[in-house]
């Protein structure tokens, strides 16, 4: 089971940010297991991080590891689709309903 490192970039504490954060938590539960690492970055507090990653849209979720960096944008409302786009393996029992 790979150990994922995920970073979610949001703008402040808007309803859309809150929703994306909640959906990230759900994603982490769906992945399950131990040793994963996820982080929420508020761009208003760290605009230079948005510059570094050359972000345009928010929310943006970046899979920093393992492997090449991959990103999706949006409020992550569809856990399965997010996992598919980022190439994440979900724990058994998830993704079928």
């Amino acid at each position: 089971m790979p150990k994922y490192s995920l970073k979610l970039y949001v703008i402040g504490r808007s309803p859309r940010s809150q929703l994306a954060i909640a959906n990230l938590e759900a994603l982490m539960r769906a992945i399950g297991g131990e040793g994963h690492d996820h982080e929420v970055v508020d761009i208003l507090e760290n605009p230079e991080l948005a510059e570094q990653e050359r972000l345009l849209a928010t929310p943006t979720l970046i899979k920093a590891a393992p492997g090449p960096s991959v990103r999706v944008i949006g409020d992550l409302s569809d856990t399965k689709a997010v996992a598919e786009a980022l190439g994440l393996e979900l724990a058994a029992g998830h993704g079928r309903g």
Binding site: I11, I43, L55, I73
Partner: protein, 506 residues
């Protein structure tokens, strides 16, 4: 007064792009977004770069360049030919890139659920904060539409960015693509959200020649020149717009002569003024400039011409009283529809607005001759450059109507001297008449000379003239006196100025 303020409520930011500010009547609307639209290869990116570069070079204003299409590396390299050292400006904190271009290896990004361009906006704001930017360029909007599928969302997000930039007190240029030279303003319906101010760049194949033009399509609530103006791209300079007024001035003048209203002045000019010429009358206060204007108008009316005067120094009552003091009845001329007197204080509005209202008045009244008394009164409400552009535009407009224009200019000193007005417009005018005081034998006398008469021979003498209840009387040339024009008359020994023996020499 209120009206004047209202008209000029939209301040302008000079771009510093040669010629553009002339056709834009001062520059881009300040603290607003202007859409610069053009087909591929129409110099949109160059315009966007130059807006920032001239801001740095000419006005000490810092800028943020948001690039959606070309990479900052490409832009730095492509602009070296214009002597813009963007890399150094970046190091000095004068120029910041917000790189939103597609990099090699960037993959299409999946969108899952709702999103917005908050990250881009945060980066732009961060960049503005970093260098305290006054100018922002976004180049070009089409590229961002191609990266996101939801065009409606991108449109509303770009509107949000425009609103934020306005709040941040910056002046913004957004470029956008057009499919055709004549048709929709821009692709993706961009004009729907930044429609207040639109500039169009064109690159048209015309008679087997590439012709670049620029057109200010609209500035909401602000004046600008209408129509397409030629544009060139010069190495070391970038975009240069050629205001047509400068070209028109080189056009051949009419050979038809008109009377100045004073026979002797006509004689001095070799038979009168040319019909579509610009005449500058310069002199100190009280030398008789307004009198020459009055004669010019009554001479026109006598020839059954329609005459118009814009007076910026004296009230209507004063002008009419002056005229009747010289035996000329302005009221009667006005009743007959041969005269229109427009009195205004220079300060009631900006120079561009004066120009626009004067043009409108001329277009409405359709005069054969126009006088402005005095042009130098308008000097004080503008910069030297703005004033010169005003004069160029006004002059070309008047010439274009094939009418004669007589401008007066007040010199700052009583004896000799030239005004700023003269220094800046003498090359534009066709004829120059100088009126000077000459102190001779403890007496103030008046002298007149025709300094310049384009396309004609003229009297080179400095002639003495007097003013009485019948107006102006021009006499003999001053003899044995020199230095009148310089304001320092000195007499040759043994001779009286203008005396009989002197005339034997003729």
């Amino acid at each position: 007064m209120d009206q004047g303020k209202q008209i000029s409520s939209v301040a302008k930011v000079p771009t510093g792009i040669t010629g553009f500010d002339a056709i834009a009547n001062g520059g881009l609307p300040a603290l607003r977004t202007t859409l610069v639209a053009g087909t591929a290869g129409s110099a949109k990116t160059l315009f966007a770069c130059q807006f920032l570069a001239e801001g740095i070079l000419q006005f000490g204003e810092t800028g943020v360049f948001v690039t959606f299409e070309e990479s900052p590396t490409d832009i730095r390299r492509n602009t070296l030919g214009f002597n813009w050292d963007i890399e150094t400006w970046e190091a000095e904190g004068k120029w910041v890139f917000v790189d939103a271009s597609i990099q090699h290896g960037d993959q299409e990004i999946a969108a899952i659920g709702h999103y917005d361009l908050g990250a881009l906006l945060a980066r732009i704001e961060h960049a503005i904060n970093r260098v305290d930017a006054k100018r922002v360029s976004l180049d070009s909007l089409g590229a961002i539409f191609s990266r996101f599928h939801d065009s409606n969302l991108i449109r509303s997000e770009l509107l949000r960015i425009a609103v934020t930039l306005k709040r941040r007190q910056v002046t913004t240029v957004m470029t956008a693509e057009r499919n055709r030279e004549y048709g929709d303003i821009a692709r993706y319906g961009v004009e729907e959200f930044v429609s207040d101010n639109v500039v169009i760049l064109r690159n048209v194949l015309e008679e087997e020649k590439r012709r670049r033009t620029i057109e200010v399509l609209k500035f909401r609530g602000a004046y600008h020149q209408k129509g397409e103006y030629p544009l060139t791209i010069l190495p070391g300079q970038g975009v240069t717009v050629i205001p047509l007024s400068a070209i028109e001035l080189r056009q051949r003048s009419s050979e038809v002569r008109i009377s100045s209203g004073v026979e002797q002045i006509d004689d001095m000019c070799g038979g009168g003024f040319f019909r579509d010429s610009i005449i500058l009358v310069s002199g100190a206060t009280g030398t008789g400039k307004t009198l020459i204007v009055t004669h010019f108008l009554s001479g026109g009316a006598a020839a059954d011409e329609r005459c118009m005067v814009f007076a910026f120094e004296e009230s209507r009552e004063q002008l009419f009283r002056n005229a009747s003091g010289w035996g000329i009845d302005f009221a009667e001329m006005e009743r007959d529809g041969r005269l229109m007197v427009v009195c205004n204080y220079p300060e009631v509005m900006g120079l561009e607005d004066h120009l626009v209202s004067m043009r409108a008045a001329i277009n409405t009244f359709r005069p054969n001759r126009v006088a402005i008394d005095s042009l130098s009164a308008l000097e004080r409400i503008s910069t030297v450059r703005g004033f010169r552009e005003f004069v160029i535009s006004l002059t070309s407009f008047i010439k274009h109507q094939e009418i004669a224009g007589l401008f007066t200019s007040t010199t700052p000193t009583l004896l000799g001297g030239t005004s700023v007005t003269e220094a800046h417009i003498s090359t534009i005018t066709d004829s120059i008449i100088l009126l000077r005081y000459a102190e001779i034998d403890g007496e103030m006398r008046r002298g007149m000379t025709v300094l310049k008469m384009r396309g004609s021979s003229h009297d080179k003498n400095i002639r003495e003239f007097t003013i009485d209840q019948h107006g102006m009387h021009i006499g003999e040339p001053f003899r044995n006196v020199s230095g009148i024009l310089a304001g320092n008359p000195t007499m040759s020994a043994g001779e009286e100025p203008g005396s009989k023996p002197a005339r034997i020499l003729e």
